[in-house]
Symmetry: C2
Subunit: 330 residues, 2 copies
């Protein structure tokens, strides 16, 4: 668990997209974000107060979160002075980059000397049991994608917000570094040793009250030739009662693989459901989320309606229409 | 790669099964086994000469392989003196146990001082790329099981032997610790970080001559709620042209999971084939291997015939009938 609230470090982000981790925290956990810190040339802006380390400490910040990814996803040399300053002032550090904060000598030295924590959320340090497949109490929902990066995290967070807004018991369970930084906890499931994928998810989303919903963040796609193993372990470990299909309609091929077309939505549901029913015989699809950002209003409306007519499931865009109609059916 | 040949260390094996790694080397790579070493009370016997470390060195042994697993699968304190003796005499050590040779201080110290290698084959030290899904030359065959431990490694090794006997180009590719110790190379796929399962298999069984067959060792089962992610990554990474279903007919539930019944053979083929065709559209099942050891001759013959009639695929027991009829069809 990361200590909250955070000072969000945007570094020298080249554009808004480079700061998407920070933006995610700002959007989904606004109470966690006391301020932002930007270096010269930073092109991102979260619309919250710019602060020095000292000012953030005064506002109660406990952790500086590296909310920016430069090209390559590595900790940049130009960031180190500020990161050390945060440690000196009393904050922990958290990042989800490829290399570890703990492997940067100046950061490791300062953290050890000062008794601060360095959270490298992409690199799990816990060990997990193998999956048991044993039924557990509580309800769980899992988004399943036609591809990677098609809106699964956003869908789960939007469902959590909608459900909490209705007074339902609901908890987002992060399985990737962005989700972990947003909510302060979770397991970077693609970094777990492969024997323990399902077991890690069982640990992440444990038995709970009968009327409590875990919204488990999805990963990858059963149709992605590199990552499908992660997806299947996640499906088995989640023991989902409810599945939501996620799709980005303008993509023509699987992420980074021009020779692999994006599968049909129906094919993904047909493949995922028998797998889900291995560990939860009651699993069913309860809705479809389509990311229509690249479509105009009329085209988006038409696609949502056509998809809903074809599959007979509430079909929404979490941004354009909200996810209320999916929650209505739970 | 392990240096061959081996002195096979059987320790104080409680029975023949406890020495199954050593037995596998004896069965499949007899040229690699110059002798066995047994401690007092050892109940296993490979039927090859008992040797001291000095005698084995004289016969050319380069590596002492720990071919025994005690309860729990850990390196026993009583073995350490002999293991150090082997290092002192000039051999490397290899083991596939849960803890590492390299984590035993006396072994680590002796190996460092003497310049010997410690091979902990259950713990990959290489890093692998993410899978590319790109088609590659050569042919590959993958056994797919209804459960774990139902004969997939034996099937792949038997196919390799049969094919080599016919003068075909064939290479067994080990994906588990027993297979790695038997053949001296491979990847312990269930110990690879989950993002890299398929990529590790692509590396293990790379492009090859058009008429060369890789026999890739299978792992787990798509119906096992703990390990199916490993199985799916293996299916995608193998890009198998040919799949062989493996089944143990007397088992009533999935290994270690009394509440999960063993799936029907047809259901496993129906689930595996679409996954296999994602990365190799020509993938097809070419045969079925049933482990009939627990059946008498008449019952075994009846089951093989019934299964062959039902699925229209050559159905054999690799031990009882050999795998020749499957190779005939390749």
């Amino acid at each position: 668990m990361l200590k909250t609230p955070y000072l969000l470090f945007l570094g020298d982000a080249k554009d808004a997209l480079a700061a998407k981790v920070a933006q995610g925290i700002r959007d989904w956990r606004p109470d966690h974000a006391v301020g932002q810190m930007r270096l010269d040339g930073c092109k991102a802006d979260l619309g919250i107060p710019d602060m020095t380390v000292a000012e953030a400490m005064e506002k109660g910040a406990r952790t500086m979160v590296v909310g920016v990814a430069n090209r390559g996803g590595f900790i940049a040399d130009e960031w180190i002075d500020v990161l050390v300053e945060a440690l000196e002032a009393g904050m922990d550090l958290a990042a989800g980059l490829h290399n570890r904060l703990a492997d940067v000598p100046r950061l490791a030295e300062a953290a050890a000397r000062l008794g601060r924590e360095l959270h490298d959320v992409r690199h799990p340090t816990e060990t997990y049991p193998v999956g048991s497949g044993a039924p557990r109490s509580g309800k769980r929902l899992l988004p399943v994608g036609t591809d990677c990066s098609c809106g699964k995290m956003y869908t789960a967070l939007a469902l959590e917000k909608e459900m909490r807004g209705r007074g339902m018991k609901a908890t987002f369970r992060a399985t990737g570094q962005t989700g972990i930084l947003i909510t302060g906890a979770g397991v970077s499931i693609d970094a777990v040793v492969s024997d323990f994928i399902a077991g890690a998810v069982e640990t992440l989303a444990p038995a709970n009250d009968d009327d409590h919903w875990d919204l488990v963040e999805g990963q990858g796609s059963l149709f992605h030739p590199a990552y499908a193993g992660v997806t299947l372990g996640l499906i088995h470990g989640a023991q989902a009662d409810a599945l939501v299909l996620c799709h980005e309609p303008t993509r023509t091929h699987m992420r980074a693989l021009p020779d692999y077309p994006v599968p049909d939505m129906g094919a993904v549901m047909d493949m995922a459901l028998p797998h889900a029913r291995l560990t939860n015989p009651d699993a069913r699809f309860v809705g479809i989320c389509i990311n229509t950002r690249a479509l105009d209003g009329a085209a988006a409306e038409r696609l949502l309606k056509e998809t809903e007519d074809r599959f007979g499931l509430p079909t929404v865009d979490p941004v354009r229409t909200g996810v209320g109609r999916i929650v209505d059916g739970l």
